[in-house]
Symmetry: D2
Subunit: 297 residues, 4 copies
């Protein structure tokens, strides 16, 4: 297939590489073009704009950092909507708000184009090794069309229905679950540590009893060892995502007091200058409040 | 070894059976003696009181439902302290308060006896199949002595230090982690469901992305399928355990806002008459508040 | 002075009447013009649009229900900005978001016009009897100019500085304080009532000890007597205002866990169909969770 | 009447003085007898023990710092129960737990004595100037008997019924309301201050709009001026009282999420070494989390 890819950040670059490796004709665009050079060497074409990357493509992917960037490359000047042909499909993998996902669905529909939301679970290493899990939603015909591409990105995917924004609801809920587990771990480590239990001992119990799940195990280790830098996923991004959860939950009329609690923790972290630590630094914030000393700088 | 066992409830009975199966000479006591008959058939002796079960034993286990029962069989009239010989060890596996564990440590020390706290992670099925994980703490000499017995109870154990109550801190923290995960799942399911995502689809994503941990997977399924009865672990017991966490955390001066949040959820559940549902019924309480209908009766 | 007034709702109408009564030449506009007839009888002119009400005026007031309406009458087609002359001043008394207040400041500045935010504390009865308290902010020259008008609206005012949006910050904070007090009262009444204390007795204590403040006394009485309809200020408006607080607090990087708690209470109230009750119906929501029965319909 | 008074702390001393001034024959006891000397000079008798102060009295008051002290002087060796005659009444004005109040009711009933709980609202200055407000509960005959004494303590009282502990429920609820208002003020001041509003300006608005209630006005001023030492009422006592609220609320099955929130704030304050600041130092804790700098030492 002819595939476009817009946004070659830490996640986008390895995802584009997977598509290229699966034998598709790839045209890429990134704000700073140097990021695309390794792909060009492997046969990709460099586009002059998102619209250019979309022009003539069967499917164009986008993977951007936030709502502002995702909206700009989609419906801004020289954006994807301008370039994409009728009947072609935009697959949006960014972690964006539910409201924006709905606006993009409408914009593409007005232009006779398809829109599939397909955010992914997994870190850059998982993207590199094709271990992502994709959650996809959109009109059935469009989802069917892009399935082979989703398959080449990761180890599997779940299709969530015909409303694209449901995939964003699920992606945000997943990040909320991780953040919640982190707050729980942060409180549990502060409590056990202040009661005299060695963090590595509590970690051993956690691993033995709960943590066949590697996600939770990794964060438990970060908290046990008080290693919050460099950030795998920055605290300020955690704030962004939990903020998006609360925004969408308010629109859906769902009180989420735990999400509110975690949001206030992250907001306090940012306000006190820890926004660039890893989002597991909840461990440090909770410990500080328990009189166990200050977060690392 | 000569071993006593006090308390043959859903957890105690299979644990006692494991000890008997490992070849130890077992004397048992239970408030209603009928519970002990299967063990007597396999060679155990029935004692007339906790003191009687402890008399002459190298080690006596106890496994009771709460602080009141655990305190009564230990330091009450005809309790374990009365019967146990000098140098023999009481292994307390009940999920009890940190403060009571400290009082029992002192009581046994005054009597020249050893005290090891060794609560377990796992449901009755896990006790039956020797899949429990034990967390033990106490004076090193006592812990060394009982290690072979702990080994015959489950698939492994963690030794946490010389202060017995640390094992209770860790057990309570484990239950707090489960309750927190449940609140997080409850909010995530209410949010996704009200946004139009089928619960079984969100369950599929959860299982694919997070839930190699069977504990979390089981609770996620209960919430997805709205199956809260019969209770595996009753909501009112969840309230008890989270209450014990908060009590100990206050003594240790550790603010735990998530534990407070979960406690208030459980307390509301009990106040509204749902105390006998499974503790995963947080799923129903959160859904009701989101306008998704009432909990089952 | 020549004064325009846009928005003749429950608050706007008595405020406009006060200005008319103080001897100013008044031109009014309301979406449904019938609301303005009593004023026309007393000598006001009815305008054809917000722009028309602003044209030729020294000062134009606006008092609308929410951000959407306030933005439309200000910068929409035939809005205030279109009609207002250079150097004339828009006094915005609506309870709107901090962000919108900043956008309106910019829009008027670009048009060479002044903008003063001047939200008010007090119910319609207070507006009728000139008992409002006004909080005003904006460029000093503009504030000076409108001071005589603010004086005729209520019993006094506080000037908060040169950034108009600060007045909105303070107005939202005031509503947050009321909502918080209501949650506190709701919990205190549920606790005392379930402990066997008659609500009217606790009300007597509250009045004797705390409530020289009539605002709090009134809400305490509503909760004590379980009278939540008709709404003086609807629960869904409480949700709106606390939502605006949280939005602005996030932008300012201020964690407000109590505001989050109250927001989730209001959101749950709306989700369960109680959005049209008075915002003091927190009393009913808290009581229900304590097992004290359902809110009235 | 013949009156005993046990506990001559900051509150007890002026209360005893009021009773003496009203013409009653007073016998006093205090752990360190020096505190009683000014009363002895005015004609009071110094007792050798709480039992001694109660012996022969019609009514004996007690005013102690906490549950431990109140229980010791009442039912401990040489306590009030030992000395008080049949039919005489113990009036307990201490701020104690609901559970202890119930135990004391029972202990006095068993001894054929009356027990009235009569905690007071007001600071030492209010006790000095007879401006306290008393909340009293107990058997009607006992309450009737002590009414003239309660009248000489303050400006009025509310009788709450026949169960003594209800007066404790109401006293604790009152302290909870103050603590809640303080958290609300703390968040409002942090939000307005970080948004650029001068604290003294927000204070002016608060006073104009809300604060005919001098209690709230005083705490708002403390927060506005960041004056948290010396403590009028120490943060650790605030933690104690909110803890007692939560304990009693749990027994009554009433979820109080705002009380939980405030408790965690106070617990964090104590854990970080601020337990001796005034309980209005919530203002500093909230401000610190908003990145506005550290609490004073």
């Amino acid at each position: 297939m002819k595939v476009g890819f817009v946004g070659l950040g830490n996640m986008g670059l390895p995802m584009a590489k997977s598509l290229l490796g699966a034998g598709h004709a790839l045209t890429v665009w990134n704000r700073s073009p140097a990021r695309g050079e390794p792909l060009v060497k492997q046969g990709a074409r460099m586009a002059a704009s998102p619209a250019d990357a979309a022009r003539g493509a069967d499917v164009v992917f986008s993977m951007l950092a936030d709502d502002v960037a995702a909206e700009a490359v989609s419906v801004g000047a020289q954006g994807i909507v301008e370039g994409l042909g009728k009947g072609a499909v935009h697959v949006s993998s960014s972690t964006i708000s539910v409201a924006l996902s709905q606006r993009l669905t409408d914009a593409h529909a007005s232009a006779g184009q398809g829109y599939v939301a397909a955010p992914v679970f997994g870190r850059p290493e998982a993207a590199e090794s094709k271990q992502l899990w994709v959650v996809a939603a959109g009109a059935q015909v469009d989802v069917e069309r892009v399935k082979p591409l989703l398959e080449s990105l990761g180890r599997g995917f779940t299709v969530l229905g015909e409303h694209a924004s449901m995939a964003n609801v699920v992606k945000l809920s997943g990040n909320f679950l991780i953040a919640s587990m982190m707050e729980a771990l942060a409180e549990a480590f502060a409590f056990t540590r202040k009661s005299g239990v060695e963090p590595r001992q509590f970690l051993e119990v956690f691993q033995s009893v709960f943590a066949s799940s590697p996600i939770f195990a990794n964060y438990a280790r970060a908290i046990a060892e008080e290693r919050y830098a460099p950030a795998g996923f920055a605290l300020r991004l955690g704030l962004k995502d939990v903020g998006l959860v609360l925004e969408a939950a308010r629109a859906a009329e769902v009180p989420m007091p735990l999400a509110s609690l975690v949001k206030d923790q992250y907001l306090g972290g940012v306000a006190q200058g820890h926004g660039d630590l890893d989002w597991s630094a909840l461990g440090a914030l909770v410990a500080e409040r328990a009189g166990l000393g200050k977060p690392p700088r």
